[in-house]
Symmetry: C2
Subunit: 337 residues, 2 copies
């Protein structure tokens, strides 16, 4: 089943979307918004699945689905907790910042509490006050959970994943060092994130979804050029079950909690950071990582961060080349107060 929230009010209008992302039908007979569905998933989930089957058979009224009509599947959420499951990414970015990475990072997940009050739509501009803040995209996989009890095990947690989607975790790189030095984590350096037009149930992913990991390439384009295509199932040190269990160690998580994978990142076959796409490598799904590799190889970074007018596109295709979640496709714009 694939679900999307069309632009409407603060929480959108929930629709069930066809597998090929061409048609949709209103979920209103079951529930008005995605949060409402998650609040009562044991009842709403099966009914939405019925609706998806009817849409598939053409036995319900449907209309043309356009990705640009979408808000993020949860336009606002009660929780957004972003892990750093691709420890390779953390190691590289720290290397560029000249900060050592403790070995415990390979065994104890890193996770921050993100702002969840107003996500950007997948085709909305990224409106920010200052290019000098070092505007970057980060391509991630994210899951939406059901209610999760405190102390859940990773195995139990995997069974509480209701939906999967993509994320652009927008970051302001030049604000990060000073903010993290204050000791309380990210705040101003993490403006609103965007999620893919469509969220899908894990069963839609077939064999690509195994033990809390999604084994398909996440592709990034920067200003229309291919920028990265790392496989999200490779080098994911912590699966989503482990990330959820980490989040739920000292508190329960409410249904509709979004857990992010952190920036997807693959090591090269030689264990190094690999090559940019332009040199035949898998590339990167954030600029910071490419800049790190440039710094390691050439002594300095040559790819600038995003400027007003720059565009990023994030997408994931299945084995037959079909877009699973629709595309996040955003342009950076200047904020005018």
């Amino acid at each position: 089943m694939k679900l999307a929230s069309l632009k409407h009010g603060r929480d959108g209008r929930l629709v069930v979307v066809s597998r090929d992302l061409t048609r949709a039908t209103d979920a209103f007979p079951v529930v008005a918004t995605l949060q409402q569905a998650l609040d009562d998933w044991s009842r709403a989930g099966p009914r939405l699945a019925d609706l998806a089957e009817q849409l598939d058979h053409g036995s319900v009224p449907s209309f043309r689905f356009h990705e640009h009509d979408c808000m993020s599947p949860l336009p606002r959420a009660y929780q957004w907790a972003d892990g750093s499951a691709y420890v390779n990414h953390v190691a590289l970015v720290r290397q560029a910042r000249g900060v050592e990475m403790p070995p415990s990072f390979w065994t104890d997940p890193l996770m921050y509490q993100g702002g969840s009050d107003s996500f950007l739509g997948p085709r909305d501009p990224i409106v920010l006050p200052d290019e000098a803040h070092g505007i970057d995209f980060e391509g991630e996989v994210a899951v939406i959970t059901d209610d999760v009890p405190m102390g859940v095990t990773p195995e139990e947690a995997r069974g509480l994943i209701r939906l999967v989607m993509l994320c652009n975790d927008v970051s302001l790189r030049n604000l990060i060092p000073a903010e993290l030095a204050k000791g309380f984590g990210f705040f101003q350096s993490k403006p609103a994130s965007a999620f893919s037009p469509v969220a899908v149930t894990p069963d839609e992913l077939g064999p690509a979804w195994t033990e809390g990991r999604l084994s398909l390439p996440l592709t990034a384009w920067f200003n229309g050029e291919p920028f990265g295509k790392p496989n999200a199932g490779i080098d994911m040190t912590f699966d989503f079950g482990t990330l959820i269990a980490h989040a739920a160690r000292t508190r329960p998580l409410v249904a509709g909690t979004i857990i992010g994978s952190g920036t997807v990142s693959n090591r090269d076959s030689d264990g190094g950071p690999g090559l940019p796409v332009s040199e035949g490598g898998l590339g990167y799904v954030c600029i910071a990582e490419q800049r790190t590799v440039e710094t390691i190889r050439a002594g300095k970074a040559s790819t600038p961060f995003m400027r007003f007018g720059d565009a990023v596109r994030l997408e994931m295709r299945d084995a037959r080349g079909h877009s699973i979640f629709g595309a996040i496709d955003q342009i950076v714009r200047r904020h005018h107060a």
Copy 2:
């Protein structure tokens, strides 16, 4: 106007409460939940104020109000961002941890993104897995905002404060050092917080509410004994307008955003940390601060953190001795998985 959310479903049942906290009337003719009211405050706010006036005049049906029937005013919220406005508290706690405080902390607000998906009710037990985590309470003042545009000024932000309440920001002291050392801020060390039974509009606070500060003593009792009574209007380095503007520097904030003051803390008249209540001082509204003072004075902390069965009570009274927000009154219980 005073508002509360009675226990009902995930979001409570909004009621308007009399000034003396003895009676309430259903807000349902206007709106069902507090978040719905905040989503449309320009319409709902005045109608709820009308209802409050009718309650005052006895011209609407009302019923006995019991604080123990309450959830937190927002039982779950889209955002909980907690400042550290009482820099004195930060300086003391750091002193005890042996960590230096940068001088910029006096000019650049410290703020962390807190978990907002499931707050505890003001009389709910604090259910946690392990006493060894160093369970502590933190008494704070918190405000709920309307929609806040990106780049708001502190002055503008003050005008977007819709409600004021108290908070018990539960902290797991012994998890904090290792978690902050990872660099991404608090997560497991900040389990669910609780808020006061009642949230009030700033006009209810009269002259005690001036320029984004609430100048009344916040009283804490620990296991029935007075523990602290610092004045929330004193030594608050950053007013709520400044805290909101800090949060909104790179993103807008959605209506229903909760901004916390951080632990209320007063310096002594000699500039030092003052004395415990038992020695005639103003005391403290978290155990960590008392332990810090013990460490400074006696070389080691003697007050243990909370154990299962321990109780904390937080309340604020007006100049005539009447409880403004009702009391947060919670017992710590062991979590059984």
